[in-house]
Every structure is written in structure tokens, then in C-alpha cells.
Amino acid sequence: MLNELVSKINSAVSGANASLLTPEDSKLESSILVDAKKIHAVAEFLKKSKIMNALQAISGVDYVEFIEVVYIFGNFDIANPGQLLLKARITDRVNGNIDTISDLFPAADYQERECFDMLGITFNNHPDHRRILCPDDWEGFPLRKDYVAAKNYNGMEVFPEGKMNMADREFIVRQEMIKKAQEAQSGKVQ
């Protein structure tokens, strides 16, 4: 079924380069990968041809070589219910951008803002391109794999040392060191 959809997308949108991603395990979800530049045209095609009538979520996954934007569509048609995972890959981690689809699906408005907030993907032509969950002056994109949490925000310590149970953890570390030293010593003696 997804194979048909791939050929349909390819014939309707030139340059979409749609391809089917099938996992090794048959229990898992197959998805369709399209070219990031053509995402708006593909979404328009899906909406116009009534294959999918609602956008459910936009999820982003940071594989370190590229960031994958996963558009999760749902078909709320009673006769033919279904869902589709449509993916686009962005390789540029600094200036990664993709076209917005919020003019087609208003649901994408907030979802894209969340995706920007969490993974730092810029959505071109978005009507209200701001952070949504983190404060506006937040630095970094938390769900990236290389994110390091800030130590301070607005004068508040994010990880105050007194609250982190450092003594208890140090105790464990010290015990391990003593144990190792003892083992090493006993090894030498023997």
C-alpha cells in the first residue's frame, strides 16, 4: 500500500525523490522519505488528493549525521482510517531549514514551533516563528544529542551543588577507588 503511495507522490511531485523506508523487523513502522525541499508540495498533494486529512504531529529525531523531521499524518476517514509517517532529512545542523506547511494544516503551526524549540530547525515562511516551551531567551536546542544544559539561567542555578547529593555520590566514588586500590595492592602482594 505504501509502495503505491510512493509512486503516486513521485508522479505528482517532480523532484520529491520519495522512497520507502522499511525496517528489518516487520513489526515496526514503515515510512516514506521525501526530499526536504519538496515537503510543502508533497503535503499539498496529500491534502488535495484526500489521502490524509489531518496532521497529527511533527516529531524530530537527531541522528547525529542528520536531523530527521517526521510528519505524522492521520486519515480520519471512517471508511479508510490510517496514518502515515513522512520524513525529510536535514543535514545542515547550523542553518537547517525546511518549508512550513502551516498554511495547509493549521495544526502544523504549534508543532513546528515545538520542533524549532527542541531541535533548532528553522521553518521558512512560518507566521509566528518563536520558541514555544522554553523561554524566548533560552540558548541551545535541548533535544539535540550534543546539548549541554546551561549552568545558570536568569541568575538561578540550574544544578545547584548542594541539591545534587554530591557527598553521597562522592562517597560511592571514593569507595570504588579504595576498592580498586586495595585490589591493586593485593595483586602486587601476591
Binding site: 547529593n165 553521597d168 562517597f171 560511592i172 569507595q175 570504588e176 579504595i178
Partner: protein
């Protein structure tokens, strides 16, 4: 529940009026019936206490006498609030047994739980092989300072504490 709205506006006016009075009186009557005949549900807490179910997950308690320092609870804990450290028993020391017959091969030197971080999920108690780590039914331990929430289960006063918490 259902009614047909009269289209005549004059009639509708009085119908709405009648309807408003009627539904309000019905609602008031339902509330008024609670004055008599309905058993009070309030639990007068400090004097009367609700009997907690057997599985209730309140404060964690570790019976250090039965602990074999396997650190499985600390591994299972999703919030890392259990701190255990242990050292090898000196050679020739007597190996004690736990109440269910497992031998204690490590000397427990620290068993601390920070209840200010604990999320009371119960994952640590299910993995405990000797069932020494349990959820007690003790929920009344509000504190004035945050440091008092960290419990050392090897502290000398733990005996008295144990008698209070574990009602065997």
C-alpha cells in the same frame, strides 16, 4: 431532559423563565437533600485515619540487617535517589544470613535514600531479592528542613525508627 422550544417569542419568554426557575429549583433540591440522609464522607484525619491498602506505596524503608548490597534497587531507580556503597568483608569474618537464607558477603557501609527526590514508583522494591527494601505505610513526615529528608538507614537510631515504621 429534552424539550421543544416554542417559537412564539412571548411564549418563549415565559417558557425560558419557567425553565430557569424549574432547573434551578431541581438543582437546589439535589443539594438540599444532602442536608439530611446522606452519610458524611469526611474523614476527620488526625483522630480517625483511613486504613491504607496493603500495597500502598509510602515512605521507603530498608531493613539493613537483610540487605546484601546487591545494588539492584539503585540500578532500577529511575531518579537515582538511592545511594549504596559496600566493602568486602575481611577474611575469616563470619558470614551472616538474611531472613530468607541468602548469605551476606558484603559489608554495607552506606544506604541512603533521598526521599525529597523519590518518586514513589515502586520499581526498587520489586527487584529487591531479599525483600528488605519495602514501602512502609508511613506518610506523616513533613519536615522543616530539606536535609532532614535524606534518610540514612544505617544510623544508630534506626532501631527505634524500625519499630515505629514496620508494624509486624
Amino acid at each position: 431532559m429534552s424539550y421543544t422550544v416554542p417559537h412564539n417569542s412571548f411564549k418563549k419568554y415565559f417558557y425560558d423563565l419557567f425553565n430557569a426557575v424549574k432547573t434551578t429549583v431541581v438543582g437546589m433540591w439535589i443539594t438540599f437533600r444532602y442536608v439530611w440522609g446522606v452519610k458524611s464522607v469526611s474523614i476527620e484525619y488526625p483522630e480517625v485515619r483511613e486504613v491504607l491498602p496493603e500495597r500502598a506505596r509510602m515512605r521507603l524503608f530498608n531493613d539493613a540487617q537483610n540487605c546484601i548490597s546487591c545494588t539492584q534497587c539503585a540500578m532500577a531507580c529511575p531518579v537515582d535517589c538511592i545511594y549504596i556503597s559496600s566493602e568486602k568483608l575481611p577474611e575469616g569474618a563470619e558470614i551472616k544470613k538474611t531472613s530468607n537464607g541468602q548469605s551476606i558477603r558484603l559489608h554495607l557501609t552506606q544506604f541512603t535514600i533521598d526521599t525529597a527526590l523519590c518518586c514513589y514508583c515502586g520499581l526498587c522494591t520489586t527487584v529487591c531479592p531479599t525483600e528488605c527494601l519495602t514501602h512502609s505505610h508511613d506518610y506523616e513526615f513533613a519536615q522543616y528542613t530539606i536535609d532532614a529528608m535524606k534518610y540514612d538507614y544505617l544510623a544508630p537510631d534506626v532501631k527505634a525508627w524500625r519499630d515505629r515504621i514496620v508494624k509486624a
